[in-house]
Amino acid sequence: MTRKFLKYLLWFFSPVILGYVIIEILTLNLPLGYKYTSEYLQQNKSGIQVLILGSSQLANAINPNFLSTPTLNMASGNQHHDTDLKILKQLQPQLPNLKTVVLEVSYSHFELPHNGKDFWKNNVYLKYYNINAFERPAYFKDKLVYLSNPPFFSVKLYNHFILNEGFEEYNNFGFDTNNYFGRFKILAYNESEILKTKFKINSIPDLKLFKNNTALFYEILDYLKENELNIIICKAPMYKSYLPKRNSEILKRRDSILNIIHLNYPNIIFLDKEEDTLNYNVFDYKNQSHLNPKGAKKFTGSLSKLLDL
């Protein structure tokens, strides 16, 4: 009877397992930024001198191709400081020549919740970079990329394999050099139209989150200081319509913490372009809070000057 049931199970689940294996293999063959970044990491471990951490704002703002120093851009969409710290602690021992770490503190970074141990990208970090961000031993399923976010990867699979469409063009560093598609391109960079459009911005102050996030940020700074690494804190440029929508309480708290950091850690360098509306124009943006590759070239240029100092 048991044998019959096991046979029944095997017979029933074979197509499911086979189907999933095919989907997973196809997903791993997608042209994803993680894949190229991972390859760069594997090939240049001993040479990498600069590590970039942060969210999509730095992921979009820094193209390591324009830097003379070997740089690994590990910033990624929705990546918060808690994940940054885990990446840093696990990557730093593998990078013998690491000299500088670039961190991001965007407008509401301190008042957004951390990703926690269930963040879907933890699978991606484990699969591509061998970084365990789960805060527990990793299991087989933790390495399955498609299963970490089926809706996201299904769209990618459909676009790539069915429609044969793909806007992404990654360079060797995993930076998408064709990352122009966004609200601004849709509106043909028409400023009067852009100014009319609504966009998502966090405007809810949260003191409790602020306290926790700030404490964790100090932990990152102390870790870097202990390991004698240079620190650059970045604020990426924001489009002019974004700036007045920022909540003044959140903004004031963020800036006051950065001022304290400036006093307590005199060696930290700040790259503040958040309100730079002179050097960055509408054509440099993908949307209100993210640069496109053209803008990234400018921002990377500013970073390059600091790194060459």
């Binding site: 048991t2 999933y20 963040f119 879907w120 299963l147 809706p151 996201f152 809810i204 409790k208």
Partner: protein, 455 residues
């Protein structure tokens, strides 16, 4: 041969259950072990004692331990925080006064299960087990360890005493129930959760209609999340030859709040009825309506507290307690109560009554704090106009519709996929299973945890 086999089965189950729990956090295995050992010996000691005072002492020792653990891990920080707010004391959150500890998963479930064991032994409803492994299995049985159903020893413990034999039909039913549970959790609860979170995290940007709608959706989210887990637990237990209690009975078909609590989280309601409400009412010399109402309010207050250390849960419990009390007051002729009237009311009217009240209850449950709950309620009743509701509608509601149709069409069954072979040929059944599996994998949102795991 049979006894040996049963012993081996139990040892395997016990080891599996401890591994299962330890994979979440091995440190709390000691707590599970300690609770089991204390209640095991408490049960034995109660049986062995002849004097009632001594028996009572052992019983209260066990209850003190279990409730103490609950208070220490779940409510300590809440009490400190509430008292300091009440006395306007400023205690830093990182100070020594707060205990920086996480709540062990399933704590409220397994402590309630062990309390019921010692109480039932004390009441001489059951004989305490003399088998260590069987009792440890009863406390830690992995399918229901983290979120119930809360089983009474009288039902679950005897199942460890007999050898389980593999049953093909029961196992198939178990798998079907797991599949249905996954459908409810992944395709209904998690999808609804996105819409609900969107609204509840920014209530000031939505009007009355959307907020009220989100409250109704949250009721369904909670139902599908929790009953989905229960289906998975019951289905898994079936694969091992165990029968767990039914925990939900299409609660949203209830015509009154009283009926709702008979259909919702049935094992918890039964637990509180048997161990809190009835003993409380019985202690009174004369059982009056006032005594019953006070008992109800106290019980529902504790039900609210059981859900978590937050004033919102207490408000949720008290609100339901008040409603249950009101429904039992003989307002009408010939001692007619609202509860009885509602049973004879056309379903549509009863449903409107029920959903209006349960939505308020959901708002209390879902809000971050009382302040937010009151703000949302105020905004709903101020009839603020909506500017956008489109993002709430669509595929998220499509699954909910499928669920409702399926559950209503099969309301006499334990779950819609039960006894499917009686209605459909194999080909159609397998096509249905594969379709469900495809949808579950393809449309699963990035990792979502079960709401009731935190309790």
């Amino acid at each position: 041969m049979g006894a040996k086999r049963r012993k081996a089965q139990n040892i395997l189950l016990l080891v599996s259950s401890y591994i299962f729990y330890g994979l979440w956090d091995w440190r709390f295995l000691s707590l599970l072990f300690l609770s089991s050992i204390i209640d095991y010996f408490a049960g034995r000691a109660i049986e062995a004692s002849q004097k009632n005072n001594i028996r009572k002492l052992y019983l209260w020792g066990s209850i003190f331990w279990n409730v103490g653990v609950l208070i220490a891990f779940k409510y300590f920080n809440f009490f400190i925080d509430s008292f300091s707010s009440l006395l306007s004391l400023d205690i830093p959150e990182n100070g020594y006064t707060f205990w920086n500890v996480i709540i062990p998963v399933g704590l409220s479930f397994y402590t309630f299960q062990t309390i019921s064991y010692t109480v039932d032994v004390y009441r001489k409803k059951i004989k305490p087990t003399r088998n260590f492994v069987e009792f440890f299995c009863f406390v830690s049985f992995f399918p229901q360890l983290v979120a119930g159903p809360i089983e009474k020893a009288g039902k679950l413990l005897p199942q460890f005493k007999k050898e389980r034999k593999f049953n093909l039909q029961t196992s198939k039913e178990g798998l079907r129930q797991i599949l249905w549970g996954l459908f409810k959790k992944i395709l209904v609860a998690d999808k609804l959760g996105i819409a609900v979170t969107m609204v509840f995290s920014n209530p000031d940007t939505y009007g009355s209609l959307t907020l009220a709608f989100a409250a109704v959706l949250f009721s369904f989210q909670m139902y599908c999340d929790f009953s989905g887990y229960t289906d998975i637990a019951i289905g898994t237990a079936k694969l091992f030859g165990f029968e767990l209690s039914k925990n939900f009975d299409i609660p949203y078909l209830a015509k009154s709040i009283t009926e709702f609590w008979k259909r919702w989280h049935i094992t918890l309601t039964r637990w509180f009825t048997d161990y809190v409400y009835i003993p409380f009412v019985k202690t009174s010399n004369k059982i009056t309506t006032l005594v019953r109402a006070t008992g109800l309010l106290l019980t529902m207050f504790l039900v609210g507290m059981w859900h978590g250390a937050n004033w919102t849960y207490i408000a949720f419990g008290c609100f339901n307690g008040i409603l249950l009390g009101i429904e039992r007051i003989p307002f009408f002729k010939r001692k007619g109560t609202l509860m009885k009237k509602l049973q004879n009311t056309p379903r549509i009217i009863a449903l409107i009554y029920f959903f209006c009240l349960t939505s308020i209850s959901s708002i209390l449950f879902r809000s971050q704090d009382i302040e937010q709950a009151l703000y949302i309620l105020k905004r709903i009743f101020s009839f603020t106009l909506d500017t956008h509701i489109s993002s709430l509608i669509g595929i998220k509601l499509f699954y909910l519709l499928i669920l409702i149709i399926a559950e209503l069409a099969t309301r006499n069954l334990d779950f819609p996929l039960q006894k499917l072979e009686l209605k459909f040929p194999k080909l159609a059944r397998w096509a249905l299973y594969y379709t469900l599996i495809f949808f579950i994998i393809r449309y699963a949102e990035p990792k979502e945890v079960f709401i009731y795991f935190q309790f």
